[in-house]
């Protein structure tokens, strides 16, 4: 059972601060129930040291390069996220193909249902990922380490192309059934990959948050937006 926050579902549906009417509320409940039966939640996380951080040679931008598990990432926002970290957890989560099938099925005749399933599944994968992230936080705490908020390829200037590396390093296809399309979309579509920094120093927010995302200004779904 994945506890999903219905307010998140309404938010994804565009309700912002409004409350949906009774019919929609009921449909959301139904969809969450159907999803609950259709999902096959899976996850994987593995710890990797941050091998090195060094300045990019000669480039004008001078963005440092992070080496993690053989990846060489130059991203200011990920750097900021991982400040003070010596290692990371790489994580992957998914709800399986069940939601995709339900959405495809609903799209044949009931787009209203498809749209609600889509929003509900989006909220559910966030909830599932939060739960897995919670386990990571505990695993880190056992070693006396603190987690940073999770950070995914595509956030800020962390290039989406690293999906491919994460998929390979974590063997996502084999371990949790997540594969990438040619254009780097994850299938099942309700899947998340992320980097979680580990540090000896405590920091404020340990779970994800829109506040961390540089795209939140022009994102229609951002929290705390009117």
């Amino acid at each position: 059972m994945i506890e999903t926050d219905k307010r998140e579902v309404y938010r994804y549906l565009g309700y912002r601060k409004n409350m949906p009417d009774e019919a929609v509320v009921r449909l959301v409940d139904e969809c969450l129930k159907d999803l609950q039966e259709a999902v096959t939640p899976r996850y994987i996380f593995r710890e990797y040291p941050i091998q090195s951080v060094y300045p990019a040679g000669g480039s004008a931008a001078q963005i440092p390069v992070l080496r993690i598990a053989g990846m060489e990432i130059s991203s200011r926002s990920l750097m900021r996220n991982l400040r003070g970290c010596e290692s990371v957890y790489l994580m992957g989560t998914t709800l399986g193909l069940g939601p995709d099938r339900l959405i495809a099925r609903a799209s044949v005749k009931h787009m209203s249902r498809a749209v609600i399933l889509q929003a509900a599944a989006a909220a559910m994968i966030e909830a599932w990922t939060d739960r897995v992230n919670g386990e990571i936080i505990q695993a880190a705490a056992a070693k006396g380490l603190y987690c940073r908020p999770r950070f995914s390829p595509g956030y800020g200037d962390f290039p989406l192309e690293f999906q491919e590396d994460l998929a390979r390093i974590l063997r996502l296809q084999k371990e949790i059934g997540v594969s990438l399309t040619e254009s780097m979309l994850m299938m099942p579509s309700k899947s998340v990959t992320a980097v979680v920094g580990l540090s000896r120093e405590k920091a404020g927010c340990v779970l994800h948050g829109c506040e961390e995302c540089t795209k939140s200004q022009d994102c229609a779904f951002a929290r705390n937006k009117v």
């Binding site: 549906l13 565009g14 409004n18 949906p20 009417d21 009774e22 019919a23 929609v24 009921r26 449909l27 139904e30 096959t40 899976r42 996380f45 593995r46 710890e47 990797y48 040291p49 598990a69 053989g70 990846m71 399986g96 193909l97 069940g98 995709d100 099938r101 959405i103 495809a104 099925r105 799209s107 044949v108 005749k109 009931h110 787009m111 209203s112 249902r113 498809a114 749209v115 609600i116 889509q118 989406l160 590396d165 998929a167 390979r168 390093i169 296809q173 084999k174 371990e175 949790i176 059934g177 594969s179 990438l180 399309t181 040619e182 254009s183 780097m184 979309l185 299938m187 579509s189 022009d218």
Partner: protein, 845 residues
């Protein structure tokens, strides 16, 4: 190299213990393989290490060992020369290891792993492309001298099918396959042991089983199911326990000794070959060989079950009677024919979903119409149906090309309708069943027509069984159709059919099938005859009834029969069915029904209320707060029912349909109804959406309610052609497989009277341009979800400008902005569905 003392593998497999090798990745990592490195490249750069790896396993006593080609395919090695060199080297390194160890008796397995991509339609890798990718490697490996093909670590049944077909079509070597199951006993894409085994045995693999994913201990329940289900040798290659992460490396904890103890247990369960996967080492294999070698060997037993399967479920024929839904068939259905001609796949899918909800176990799929490309339509319908529903399908066609297309693209083991006693039919259909697998329906007719006696039909049944045997189709994969013919022309007809059923069961030990409703052609109250005949047939042993699962009388007869035959625990199936049935008023029983064509009483009142109409909409009794007030027109009709406008605004489909028929019955002309009631109601909702007082779900619920009303109105307009306001292409661009936004726009545009050519998702620019040219399309709507796919959108626009400059392009999607749309040269950016509607109005005036 001359395989001096090497006997053909198939002389040994399943007759004595055989052992596989163990893990590759773990050992290569110890030898220094880096995280990002492709291990197959070592065949060229570090050949000695690979030989060494093989030698370790050969000395440990394995009989079958894998080439280092798990990920060798053109997706990972696009350079054809490099791929060839890697695969050829892999085989020659294996041969060298065999020479060095003096193990000329061991078999080199060309190792094939998954592509890493998900197949269409849920993913973006076309099925035939997957077959090509695997086929290329098989050709190189077989030519280089591999002794067998081992397909392994497959977590998707569809990709497994592509790989097996590729192996079979590109070499004559034995083909073995092992899949990855998870803790719940399923493939990652949902298949069960039973469904997977059915499909793979249908494809005639020489051995099958399980590898990777878990350790031997966790694998035991799956092994149990495998040995209970499979009729070919069972192979088990576990990991050395569950993986654990240590300093960024994956480690496995089960030591060789413990591993061997578990493998001994597994071997004793009745499997025929064992080995290891991730984390296992030559030591694990050596211990396993020692522990298992002297156990008594149990050969696999043939199970003789008649099973069809989908991607996720196996359905066994013969245990209790099954219902095969007959509604996906154009015969006698005007609307269905129209849908086929207009390429309206959604209409066909709806028929499928409705029958699944009504309790069908298998769906018959017949899309034959003289003026369409049947093989192509069969392919489309089969692939779309199997992506949204879990029922096995019955490929129903008289066109061998369409039959092969359907069977090939089918994700499972299909039912095939049909073969008959004619030589031509036997020779064209049975080889397909032998190649792709399937349970084939054998019609008891031949060159001499349909025998009038049971004797005659039994003779043909025997002939079909014999021919099946000759073509390598096992007896259990044939189901005999005893042929039901209307009693209105020959009143003995039913008795002959029933006697044939009985004799197939009692004398031939076979299973049977009937198109039940044929029995009542030309008679009134057909469903009464059909229901009684169904009961009589089931009593005579009928295994499969081809019928309309939405027909109340027949479904009740079916349920009653199960309840009376002790096949319905606590009668729950019967009780549930009764609870779901909306009994028609007595008067309708007399006036309706008679004269409708064969089982074509569409979902009219009195059939099962299978799909909850309009989902929540249909049940929303309370008023929807915050909706704008009534917008003119009649609000209440005499009976107190809800007005059309009101039911659309509140998104209540059933009510909207009722209101529309009431207004039509009052004599309101259809067009007036649309223009004065429907469209204004939609406009009110649309405006509310734009103002932010109505939200997307309500907008769509209203659209669906309006659609339900449209359907009713269309019925009355059958012959007067309603002019579409314009024809629009919608497509989600190449590379993008998320089409929800496009589908929303489609619903809205259709509501406003536009004719939509929906090209689907992941659509190549060329397809869009060609369609626009051919159909003279003035407006194209494109959607893209991500920045990575906006590139394809830009390319599509570029090609359209070049080849069809007068076509306008409207774009939308999550990442789209006005600025972005301008930069790629779109004519209009539509932030939401209503904006697209407005733009269409502007274009078409």
């Amino acid at each position: 190299m001359a395989g001096v003392n090497r006997r053909p593998l198939l002389e040994r497999l399943g007759k004595e213990w055989l052992f596989f090798d163990g893990g590759t990745g773990t050992i290569l990592q110890e030898k220094g393989l880096q995280g990002g490195e492709l291990p197959e490249r070592w065949n060229l750069t570090r050949p000695e290490d690979i030989i060494d790896l093989h030698c370790g396993y050969l000395r440990a006593g394995c009989d079958i060992f894998n080439t280092n080609t798990f990920g060798a395919n053109a997706l990972k090695f696009p350079d054809e020369g490099e791929l060839r060199a890697i695969v050829e080297a892999a085989v020659s390194l294996a041969q060298e290891a065999r020479r060095r160890t003096g193990r000329g008796d061991a078999y080199i397995a060309l190792d094939i792993g998954p592509t890493g991509r998900l197949l269409e339609p849920l993913g973006d890798l076309p099925f035939e492309r997957a077959v090509d990718l695997f086929g290329q490697v098989v050709r190189i490996g077989a030519a280089a001298g591999a002794d067998l093909v081992l397909i392994e670590t497959m977590s998707d049944s569809y990709e497994s099918k592509a790989a097996v077909l590729a192996a079979k079509e590109n070499c004559d070597l034995p083909v073995l396959i092992t899949n990855v199951y998870d803790g719940s006993g399923k493939l990652l894409t949902g298949g069960t042991v039973a469904s997977t085994v059915a499909m793979l045995e249908g494809l005639r693999v020489d051995g099958l089983g399980v590898n990777c994913g878990m350790g031997p201990e966790q694998m035991i329940p799956i092994v149990q199911q495998l040995v209970e289900t499979a009729s070919v040798p069972v192979l088990v290659n576990p990991n050395a326990g569950l993986p654990r992460s240590e300093n960024g490396r994956t480690v496995y904890d089960v030591d060789p000794e413990t591993f061997a103890v578990w493998m001994k247990k597994i071997a004793a369960m009745g499997v025929q070959a064992v080995g290891g996967c991730c984390g296992t080492t030559p030591d694990h294999i050596r211990r396993t060989v020692e522990a298992v070698r002297n156990l008594p060997f149990i050969p696999v037993s043939r199970k003789h079950r008649t099973v069809v399967s989908s991607y996720s479920q196996a359905v066994e024929i013969g245990k209790k009677p099954l219902i095969i839904g007959e509604r996906i068939n154009p015969t006698g259905k005007k609307k269905f024919k129209e849908a086929l001609r207009d390429n309206n796949i959604e209409y066909i899918l709806e028929e499928g979903l409705r029958q699944e909800d009504s309790g069908a176990h298998i769906l018959d799929v017949n899309v034959g119409l003289p003026e369409i490309d049947e093989p192509r339509m069969m392919e489309t319908v089969v692939t779309r149906l199997q992506s949204i529903l879990a029922l096995p399908l019955q490929i129903d066609t008289s066109d061998p090309a369409a039959m092969e297309r359907g069977m090939r693209l089918y994700n499972g083991k299909p039912m095939v309708n049909s073969v008959n006693g004619k030589r031509e039919s036997l020779e064209s259909v049975l080889p397909l069943v032998a190649k792709y697998g399937g349970v084939v329906v054998g019609l008891t007719l031949d060159e001499g027509g349909i025998p009038e006696t049971a004797d005659g039909r039994i003779e043909i049944a025997k002939k079909i069984y014999r021919a099946a045997d000759r073509f390598g189709v096992p007896r259990e994969d044939v189901v005999i159709d005893a042929l039901a013919m209307t009693i209105s022309s020959d009143t003995k007809g039913a008795l002959v059919t029933l006697e044939t059923l009985r004799r197939v069961r009692d004398e031939l030990g076979g299973h049977t099938i009937l198109g039940v409703s044929n029995i009542s052609f030309g008679l009134p109250e057909r469903s009464v005859i059909n229901a009684h005949f169904l009961t009589m047939a089931m009593q005579m042993g009928l295994s499969c009834a081809i019928m309309n699962p939405g027909n109340e009388d027949m479904i009740l007869a079916y349920r009653a029969f199960l309840a009376l035959s002790d096949m319905d625990p606590q009668c729950m199936g019967y009780i549930d069915t009764c609870a779901n049935i909306v009994r028609r008023p007595a008067s309708a029983n007399i006036s309706g029904g008679a004269g409708t064509a064969a089982g074509d009483a569409a979902a009219a009142p009195g059939t099962l209320a299978a799909v909850p109409e309009g989902t929540a909409g249909g049940r929303a009794n309370a008023g929807a707060p915050g909706l704008p007030g009534a917008a003119g027109g009649k609000n209440q009709d005499k009976s107190g029912a809800m007005s059309l406008a009101e039911s659309i605004r509140r998104g209540m489909g059933q009510k909207a349909a009722e209101a529309a028929s009431a207004l039509l019955a009052e004599g309101l002309p259809a067009l007036e109804l649309i223009n004065r009631e429907l469209i204004p109601a939609l406009d009110v909702v649309g405006k509310g959406f734009e103002k932010g007082t109505i939200f997307l779900p309500q907008l769509l619920m209203s659209a669906e309610a309006a659609k339900a009303a449209f359907e009713v109105i269309k019925e009355t307009m059958r012959d007067e052609k309603r002019e579409a306001r314009g024809r629009i292409i919608l497509a989600t661009v190449k590379g993008d497989i998320h089409d929800i936004g496009k589908n929303i726009v489609k619903v809205m545009l259709e509501n406003y009277g536009y004719d939509i050519l929906d090209l689907g998702k992941d659509v190549a620019p060329e397809t869009i341009v060609e369609t626009a040219q051919r159909e003279k399309i003035r407006l194209v709507g494109l959607s893209a979800l991500m920045t990575t796919t906006v590139v394809s959108m830009e390319e599509t626009i570029r090609q359209l400008r070049e080849k069809k400059p007068d076509t306008r392009v409207v774009v939308g999607g999550a990442v789209m902005t006005q600025e972005y749309a301008d930069s790629i040269g779109a004519d209009c950016y539509a932030p939401d569905a209503m904006a697209t509607v407005h733009y269409a109005e502007e274009v078409f005036g």
